[in-house]
Amino acid sequence: MIEEPYRWVEAIANRREYIEGQLAPGSPIAALGFRDGVLFLTLGQTRQKLFEIYDRIAMGAIGHPGDIERLRMAAIELASTEGFTRSAADVSLRRLAHYSLSPVMKSAFEQVYGPPYLARMLFAEVGARPEDDLILRVEYDGEIASNSATYARARQDFAVLSGTQQSVEMMEAFLKTEHKPDCSFEAAVKAALNAWSIGHMLLQAGDTKELPGHDAITQHCREQLAVAAIEAAVLDRNGTTTIRYRSLSDKELRSFISD
């Protein structure tokens, strides 16, 4: 098959279609930079989706739990050995994603006889200032999308991950207008929750090109909060300890959104 370029391309396309189908029902995750750090937020019923990778790095993922676990372990292992042999300051998300994760995921995806990674990941590294925050989305094929400026658009202070491309686009469109990088924690929680609701609605609704109205978002959000728990984590920008990751309990968060 490898000797026949056409069939290889076909195999890759089939594989892509299969993986996209597997990832499609994944609950969205939003990562928002705010004044005092970076907030990760999602809603879910069952398994944990947000993880601590290193002192200033967090990860959120959707996909097959076994693949997420392997990638999470690899990321922690790489960051820990780097932090141990050099120093914590030498552990960088940019290097971790670009030099280690992306090449491995790409080759797993393209070697059509082996299994690909069924996972999509969102990483964030909190910086000393909001403009130093780095947020990356790493796809199952090793593709990396970052929040930094590209030719097509200005730098963003957020990144999202969801089951479908359309859901991602709508969440981004919402956050582009509704999220301010220097906002408070409360404002970030609200924006993230609304972005999640939009992403989740889009997973179910299918083809819409317009953002749902404010009332529809609130309604959907309330319905979902009744059946699912909020999972969230913060990377503190100004913490006194070296470990900046802190997971937030459902109860703690509900006190912010009661009104």
Partner: protein, 274 residues
């Protein structure tokens, strides 16, 4: 450029959460030397304790206080007068070391990373017993060096867990890795006999037992004890009055670890010790 470190081992499952074995697998940590002791032709030397320092720890009303002087020595030479021998391992654990600094600091680094690696990979905090054992294992692995006369480390480990009973926990070790839980106080290093005497006396016949002391009283007791140790032990600095170098004092409590600033120690020193 050494890329292997960034290598991505797909077959590895971190399920055991054991950081030292990960380091060994990557060739970043020497394997345990026990069992391959060099057949040294030298006469077995008389045991020479080289843990030249004074470390003390005791439980008081506000948690566990751990204090250490700041002198590092080689033989009868003072090498360094600002050494920090009271090290934070995680949010609620302190390891204080007497012994060879190179080995001790490396051990503290391995332990610190081990606990974090465990928490991150296993998604739960390591239990107190697990932490205590982890340090014991590092000491055990180091015992080959101890037998060769280099690298002896005798630490104290203090930790606080709101869910355990008692909440404040204090352990001391011997060079082979045996762990002993202290109910009230522990001391290690060459100046420890004097300190142990003081703490025993204070606890039994002092104004009040150690666990009833308030923070200022606890700090002044620690300073007095270290100064007493320094009086007869040249390897212990106590309080350097001319250089304004104060011992390192850390307190671990439910809220986490509090490193007392020099200004605070200086104030207590001036009022209650000097």
């Amino acid at each position: 450029m050494d890329r292997p470190q960034l290598g991505f081992d797909q077959d590895f499952s971190g399920a055991a959460g054991d950081f030292p074995s990960l380091l060994r697998r990557k060739g970043l940590l020497d394997s345990a030397v026990a069992g391959q002791m060099p057949q040294n032709t030298m006469q077995p030397k008389a045991w020479q304790p080289t843990e030249a320092t004074t470390i003390l720890a005791f439980k008081f009303s506000g948690g566990v206080l751990v204090a250490g002087d700041r002198r590092a020595t080689a033989g009868n030479t003072v090498v360094y007068d600002r050494a920090d021998k009271v090290l934070e391992i995680d949010r609620h654990s302190i390891m204080a070391i007497a012994g060879v600094p190179a080995t001790a600091w490396e051990m503290a680094r391995v332990l610190e990373h081990s606990l974090q690696y465990f928490r991150r990979t296993q998604l739960q905090e390591m239990s107190i017993d697990g932490k205590v054992r982890a340090l014991s294992k590092l000491l055990r692995d180091n015992f080959g060096f101890v037998m060769q006369g280099v690298g002896v480390v005798v630490p104290i480990f203090a930790t606080y867990d709101g869910n355990s009973k008692p909440e404040a926990r204090l352990y001391f070790y011997d060079a082979m890795g045996a762990q002993f839980e202290a109910t009230d106080y522990a001391a290690t290093g060459s100046g420890s006999p004097a300190v142990r005497g003081i703490l025993y006396y204070e606890h039994n016949w002092g104004a009040k037992p150690l666990h009833k002391l308030k923070e200022d009283e606890a700090v002044s007791l620690a300073l007095r004890a270290l100064d007493t140790a320094a009086e007869s032990d040249t390897a212990t600095a106590g309080v350097d009055r001319s250089g304004k170098i104060f011992p390192v004092i850390k307190i671990v409590s439910r809220a986490g670890i509090n490193t007392l600033p020099d200004s605070k120690i200086a104030a207590v020193f001036k009022e209650m010790v000097a």
